[in-house]
């Protein structure tokens, strides 16, 4: 039986990887991937909590999160493609269309 702390460490690691990707990478696709990684960390956390507390709620949330993540990825990728077609740019720091 793997201890619960290992799962927490795993999710923390995954979340930080995702976060660092979000903060430091410039490519929009990579940004999206990083978001997915953070989301996955969350899902693992929910699943493990559910597993250890013998409570089914966490699993249900995980299913919702999977559906949400799929939808989010679909919309996000679409937006990125459209943005690329429009501006021919794919690096986030080059797109400062809304500069105040």
């Amino acid at each position: 039986m793997i201890p619960f702390e290992y799962y927490v460490l795993l999710t923390l690691l995954l979340f930080c990887i995702g976060l660092i990707g979000v903060l430091f990478r410039r490519n929009l696709i990579i940004l999206l991937v990083s978001f997915e990684i953070m989301m996955n960390a969350l899902m693992i956390l929910f699943a493990s909590i559910s597993h250890y507390t013998k409570d089914v709620q966490g699993y249900i949330i995980v299913f919702f999160l999977i559906a949400l993540a799929a939808a989010e990825a679909g919309v996000g990728l679409t937006l990125v493609v459209l943005l690329y077609r429009k501006l021919r740019k794919v690096y986030a720091d080059e797109i400062n269309y809304f500069r105040g």
């Binding site: 903060l23 410039r26 986030a92 720091d93 797109i95 400062n96 500069r99 105040g100």
Partner: protein, 656 residues
């Protein structure tokens, strides 16, 4: 109702409802559809509505004479605690008399206006307004509570404003309209306070609840500042402020002569016969309240007296025919208030009733003359008239009847009512009765004088307006105008016959009828011999007035110029209307304008308000210039901000 057995009908009565609402319906339809669909004949609806109203009023008169009183609530607008505001009708001898007077005159004046206003671009507008006015006037007289009285009161004020400023392209007309409106606001402010006070101290606004509760406050004194004020006097005074404004009594009288800028039928209906008598009506309606305080009665009598005398002195110096008649209206309204001030309310209402007919007749006669002279640059000027008897015989005769009536010549309506006032004043228990009688007698003579002044100047001598009319001669007015004149002249003779006093063998039916509501005046024992003497005196005063007018304006026209030069100071004083307009200009208009232009405009407007407005814009711009630096438009930075936010939030949770 004092000891009189009336059958009170408390259920809804359609005919009472229809009397005011038919004119309203006609007015609204005419106003909305008049411009497009009723351009040629906009008068059909209002005239027929008024005719119907008049017939229904006659039916109601018969009902009341047979001992019925209608009192019912039509609609409750709001009920808050003991405050009830609603629409209710009260038809008793007092209101049914007003009802018949208003609807009959309004109908005839509507008919007259068909001819008088013909060809005016605002033909439909005129009929709509004047019907609306009739509606509000009927609401005023029919109301059974003070709030509805106030509604009618303000409504007639509004219509008066609209109709004085009917020819609004003319600056003097729109100025006069504003003046009338503003001066009435001053009075109505007091009136509203009076209504509040009635509600505050008596807890109700309905007449039939107010009167039984009056003894509660009869001896109440309240402190204002360091003065003990008799509460009934205070309330009466506040209510009377409204009456002073609406009935144009000193010191709020200056709007009425200016109101003559409106079309003549308006002057006849609103500014002579009906609206301006609303004050007298209100005082009579609330007479138990006024009678609680001798000071209030003295105030009413005194204000009436001053107005009566002042107007009678100004009238002979004016040259605008309508202004002269307007001053005579002021003077006659003063008469009515004098009657109220000596407790003879029924007689005051009697004079109101007869006055409505002969004064409307005077105005419509003047209107007929003006209509004939309307090519002149100033058709109201009596200096271009003269010799009109030849051109306009019907106007001549009807004007003569009205003049004789107002001069108090026996047999005509004005004689009976005026004489009753003088007799009741003389025998009144109030100490100022004799003074009222004396001034009343004096003014009776002056009234005869200035009325016959315009009569002689207009109808006798040579016609002087040939130049002003570019060689034309005046002509008699069309039938649609002369027939109402003839009908009203019957009123100006016979309306007085309803109340021939006992001393002359009559039954004083009119007064007895109203005294059922208005109470009997407190009189000293009446000596019939003295009463005859008083009558003879007032007849002599009237005849003397006519005689002097004949002497000055027909026999020796030079005298007119002679007097105005000989007593130049007095003449100027009177010609400038006792300098009331100048006084108000100095005391109120100039300081107000100064306040507006310096304090409000320079300090408040350009400093406080401008700086507030500009300052808020500048603050926004300044803070924006700081915060826009954060708004780089780069998503990565925003991610950092989010992280920062989350971290701060977490720290906050931990250290809490």
């Amino acid at each position: 109702m004092e000891g009189v057995s009336f059958e009170v009908v408390r259920s809804f009565n359609l005919s009472v409802f229809l009397v005011p609402f038919l004119p309203l319906l006609a007015s609204v339809i005419t106003l909305i559809f008049g411009k497009r669909y009723l351009r040629e004949k906009p008068y059909i609806l209002p005239v027929s509505a008024l005719l119907l109203s008049f017939l229904i009023s006659l039916k109601l008169l018969v009902d009341v004479l047979s001992g019925k009183i209608y009192e019912f609530d039509l609609y409750q607008w709001m009920v808050v605690g003991s405050l009830k505001v609603g629409l209710g009708f009260l038809v008793d001898p007092l209101s049914v008399m007003m009802l018949c007077m208003v609807t009959s005159l309004s109908f005839l004046i509507h008919v007259y206006s068909i001819g008088y206003m013909k060809g005016d671009p605002g033909y439909y507008r005129f009929f709509s307004y004047i019907s609306l006015f009739t509606f509000f006037m009927l609401i005023l007289v029919l109301s059974n509570n003070l709030i509805q009285l106030y509604l009618g009161w303000e409504g007639v004020g509004l219509c008066s404003y609209l109709l004085i400023g009917f020819w609004y392209e003319k600056k003097s007309a729109s100025d006069a309209a504003k003046k009338a409106f503003i001066i009435n606001r001053i009075g109505d402010f007091g009136f509203a306070l009076g209504i509040f006070a009635v509600f505050y101290y008596l807890g109700t606004l309905y007449y039939h609840e107010i009167f039984p509760r009056l003894p509660q406050i009869a001896q109440t004194y309240i402190n204002i500042g360091s003065y003990e004020v008799h509460l009934p006097f205070l309330i009466s005074f506040l209510l009377f402020c409204g009456a002073m404004g609406k009935s144009a009594q000193v010191p709020l009288h200056t709007w009425l002569p200016d109101a003559m800028e409106g079309p003549t039928p308006v002057s006849a209906l609103i500014h002579a016969a009906t609206m301006v008598t609303a004050g007298v009506f209100m005082v009579s309606r609330l007479h138990p309240l006024f009678e609680l305080s001798p000071h209030a009665m003295a105030m009413v009598a005194l204000v009436g007296l001053i107005t009566c005398f002042m107007a009678a002195t100004i009238a002979p110096t004016q040259f605008d025919i309508k202004r002269v008649v307007a001053y005579s209206t002021l003077s006659q309204l003063g008469y009515m208030f004098m009657a109220c001030g000596v407790g003879a309310f029924a007689v005051g209402m009697f004079h109101l009733f007869t006055h409505a007919y002969f004064k409307a007749l005077l105005f419509l006669g003047a209107g007929s003359i003006i209509h004939a002279l309307h090519h002149a640059s100033d058709p109201n000027d009596i200096r271009i008239m003269g010799g009109l008897k030849r051109f306009m015989p019907i106007t001549f005769w009807t004007f003569l009847i009205a003049s004789l009536s107002i001069a108090g010549i026996p047999g005509f309506a004005g004689f009976f009512s005026k004489d009753e006032i003088l007799v009741y004043a003389y025998f009144s228990q109030y100490p100022w009765g004799k003074l009222v009688w004396f001034v009343g007698l004096l003014v009776a003579g002056m009234t005869a004088f200035y009325t016959f002044r315009i009569f002689f100047k207009a109808f006798f001598g040579e016609f002087k307006g040939v130049e002003a009319l570019h060689g034309h001669y005046p002509h008699e007015s069309p039938k649609v105008m002369t027939i109402p004149l003839i009908i009203i002249s019957f009123g100006a003779i016979f309306s007085g016959w309803l109340g021939i006093p006992e001393a002359l063998g009559g039954g004083a039916h009119f007064q007895r009828f109203l005294e059922q509501v208005l109470g009997h005046p407190k009189l000293l024992p009446v000596d019939h011999a003295v009463e005859y003497l008083l009558m003879v005196l007032s007849i002599v005063a009237g005849l003397m007035g006519i005689g002097i007018a004949y002497l000055v304006y027909v026999k020796k026209p030079a005298l007119e110029v002679f007097f105005s030069y000989k007593f130049k100071v007095i003449y100027n004083f009177l010609y400038r209307k006792w300098y009331f307009d100048e006084l108000y200009h100095r005391v109120f208009v100039v300081p107000t304008l100064w306040l507006a232009r310096t304090v409000v405009n320079l300090v408040l407007d350009s400093f406080v308000i401008d700086h507030t407005v500009n300052g808020s814009a500048k603050t926004t711009a300044f803070s924006a210039s700081l915060f826009r630096k954060l708004h780089s438009g780069i998503v990565n930075y925003y991610n950092w901000f989010i992280l920062l936010g989350v971290v701060i939030y977490l720290i906050y949770i931990f250290i809490r």
